[in-house]
Amino acid sequence: MIWRFLARRTAMLLVTVLVAGLAVHGALFIAPGDPATLLIGGGKPPNPQLLAEIHRQYHLDEPFLQSYARWLGGLLHGDAGESLAYRDSVTHLLGQRAGNTLFLIAYAAVLIIVPGVALGTLAALRGGAGDTAVTIVTTALMAVPTFVMSVLLIWWLSVQWAWFPAYGAGAGLTGRLEHLTLPALALAAAWIAYVAQVTRSAVRGELASEHVQTARSRGIPERVVVRKHVLRNASGPIFSVSGVAVAGLIAGCAVVEQAFGVNGVGALLVQSAAKQDMAVVQTLALVTVVVFVAVNTLVDVVSAALDHRVSLEGAA
């Protein structure tokens, strides 16, 4: 049953990748502009022969399907093509940047899930003023766009207080933690509300359920009731919403990486799209789709394992 589910998901993924690849390739292909001119730069008189030479070298004059087939064919041999802007292989460029982005996403995920679940649980158990306060604060954070949050954090914690660096990804564990704290905060802010709200309603639902009432009437201490009966049963929805949040972070990365000058996959995507660096954009679109689908699949499988009331049948 799980295998059938995974096979269906994989087939779906392949179709998505092909369609997305064609769409991205097509969009870049019809977009006006000439990426080769960016390589020459603007400090010298225009030189048409030089441009022709670059077009030849990078196959920029090929028809649409031929260039798509070239890229796809290369991919099957493990070669994602050559970046025009960096004159370097795309796999090498990705390899250099993947670490920063994964670190950033993991860090942001911790910053979302820990406070989100804690605040949501607190709101559900306490109710009243605490509940209202949690709702107001998290919703307010949700309303601030990530980019604005980035600028605010830099101004406040980097320029005014000099607690954190304003720019770059840092090196080593401590360097990375120090450099990526602000970007992770900016990335996490918008998602905390989401996780907190779902946690709150899941915990509320469990608190009102029969088995909790029964446990309480048996005189089991409240601490144990909350841990064993409430949180355990609420973990399914909490886990799946956390999964969705993490998948959403993949997209949000581009914004914060660009704002904080973090040399990651997201920033590379933004810059390469602006430069019409075909091979890079294609490959990154592919990787994003695969990761997104993989994370969602994992969430579905684990949710089903956590809560037997959820079946995988309807999920594929």
């Binding site: 730069g41 603007g42 225009p46 960096y86 660096p165 914004v255 040399n263 920033a267 933004v270």
Partner: protein, 551 residues
């Protein structure tokens, strides 16, 4: 997924036309009340520093191969790595570089005598063979040199001694020598060039030059690190900075924060939006230097309303340049009389000839709406809407065009601002199909070499790919050709100024301003030149510590 407005500025500047320029009042004559203090140099550095971080606001270089550098970022780095045969000083005067002297036995021959005490970073001695290889390779299509036009009049380049190179010309060419001061004239090791092939100048292929800094590592997208060359041949320029790291912050607000917090020590080409915050900071100093940069509006084709020079002149007459300089450039720019700034020729042997020619040009017009209206009526354009292109997100261009838009309204012309994506904006300089639907473009550019001639030719010569309006004044073309063929500086300058007087009257373009160079240094460092000449000189070799602690 939408990106915030960030990188656009980076690429906007990449579109800078080749080497544009603009008329600067000689000796700062155009100084208005409250004018900024311009300086070519900054206080000399006193101490050695372990590390300095410097920013490249136009983004990461795509290459460091001296034959291929043709823009702000790659030039800023490469000028510290690869020595050219001649050098440019902060005041734009020419000086010996790897060539100690040069002579013209006849007007079709140039003999360069080389220094005999120069080694590449790997310790190998530099000889005439390396010079010949570095210059000759730029003829080959595979090299993808941005300087092929410099070789147009050259017939042979040969080693006539271990330390002597002779260049023979088909026709005399006074420009060739001046181009030896930039990437075209930089010397790389012949053997290394052969080994590296097309990867020369990339992160993978590396470089082999003689400059004061060596390329040590290049992490694509992250940083580019250079270390000092302790055995540098020019003892007066032995670097005081042990390690110089370049970063590629293109976002204005991020750059401002990083400079204010001391995370980045300095940067050239500070955008005007960042200048306000930096000029009042106590973290460091914002310097204003003379520049060869220029901004103008240029018609995209012969059918553009602007291609009628009366319309161009009318726009010039309604544009309040004083207000523009004050509001858009924060005062850090000069009004233009022509499109070639005086910095380019002020240290020439014939500076007085150029100055006389400049003074004779009509003054920058004061606002005169009535006269402008008359010109528009005379021209009676069929089309009264003018679409002008600019790089998306470039605040300075946007504000400038908004100014022009308001002014044009007064004379019944409508300006439509078209913000283009980077590849479109840079592509329109090559591809006529990308100029469709546009009537003009913002042109941002600079002049690299200390000679105004090539720049004038680019817009007036019928053969030039940049002459979009099909401007053809045989007299101008002939005068400029004779100027180029004249090896006597005074005669050459004389012919140039005659041509300039003619095209100034009828070449259709709207000169906007000549922005000054803006450079910021943290208070812990000093010494780098503040003049635009940095683009072709080993500026970082002058950089060093002060006795103040950085923040």
């Amino acid at each position: 997924m939408h990106a915030p407005r960030t990188t656009a500025l980076t690429f906007t500047a990449l579109l800078a036309l080749a080497a544009c320029s603009s008329g600067m009042g000689t000796g700062g004559k155009a100084a208005s009340p409250g004018a900024l203090k311009l300086t070519s140099t900054t206080p000399a550095a006193s101490g050695t520093l372990d590390e300095v971080t410097w920013n490249l606001p136009f983004g990461e270089p795509t290459t460091l191969d001296p034959a291929k550098v043709g823009d702000y970022s790659p030039n800023t780095v490469e000028a510290n790595l690869c020595d050219p045969l001649l050098r440019i000083r902060p005041d734009y005067s020419l000086a010996p570089g790897l060539a100690t002297s040069w002579s013209n036995p006849d007007d079709k021959t140039l003999v360069l005598d080389l220094r005999t005490d120069v080694s590449f970073w790997n310790g190998h001695a530099m000889t005439a063979k390396d010079v010949v290889a570095s210059l000759s390779r730029q003829r080959e299509a595979a090299t993808q040199s941005v300087n092929t036009q410099v070789l147009a009049n050259v017939s042979t380049i040969t080693a006539t001694g271990d330390h002597q190179v002779t260049v023979r010309f088909k026709t005399p060419d006074e420009l060739f020598l001046k181009y030896l001061a930039n990437g075209f004239g930089a010397v790389s090791e012949a053997a290394y060039l052969k080994k590296a092939g097309t990867s020369y100048g990339t992160a993978k292929g590396g470089l082999m030059c003689t400059g004061p800094f060596k390329l040590s590592s290049w992490k694509a997208g992250d940083s580019l690190t250079t270390v000092r060359n302790t055995a540098y041949w020019d003892a007066s320029l032995r670097p005081k900075v042990k390690k110089l790291t370049f970063l590629f912050v293109t976002d204005n607000s991020t750059l401002t924060s990083a400079l204010l917090s001391g995370q980045i020590d300095g940067s050239y080409e500070i955008p005007s939006t960042a200048a306000k915050a930096l000029s009042s900071s106590d973290t460091g100093t914002l310097y204003y230097g003379p520049s060869a940069q220029t901004v103008f509006v240029y018609p995209t084709g012969p059918k553009s309303p602007l291609a009628d020079h009366r319309i161009a002149q009318a726009l010039s007459l309604v544009l309040d340049r004083d207000a523009l300089v004050k509001n858009v450039y924060d005062g850090a720019a000069q009004k233009l009389k022509t499109f070639i700034p005086s910095l380019v020729w002020q240290k020439s042997e014939a500076a007085d000839v150029y100055a006389k020619g400049y003074d004779a040009l009509p003054a920058v017009p004061d606002v005169d709406v009535a006269k402008a209206k008359t010109l528009v009526d005379e021209a009676a354009p069929k089309q009264r809407t003018i679409s002008i292109a600019m790089g998306a997100g470039d605040q300075q261009s946007l504000q400038t065009l908004t100014f022009l838009q308001a002014a044009a309204k007064k004379i019944g012309l409508k300006i439509a601002i078209k913000q283009l994506q980077p590849t479109q904006m840079s592509g329109l300089f090559y591809d006529p199909s990308l100029r469709k639907g546009l009537d003009a473009t913002m042109a941002l550019g600079y002049i690299e070499i200390p000679d105004p001639l090539s720049y004038a030719q680019m817009f007036t010569s019928p053969a030039s790919p940049l002459n979009w309006t099909k401007y053809d004044n045989p007299e101008v073309t002939a005068l400029l050709a004779r100027s180029q063929a004249s090896l006597d500086p005074r005669a050459s300058a004389e012919l140039f100024t005659q041509a300039q007087a003619l095209y100034a009257a009828d070449l259709p373009m709207v000169p906007i301003s000549a922005p000054y160079e803006r450079m910021f240094m943290n208070k812990r460092i000093s010494g780098a030149p503040a003049s635009f000449a940095y683009i072709n000189m080993p500026w970082a070799a002058m950089l060093g510590g002060t006795d103040k602690a950085g923040s």
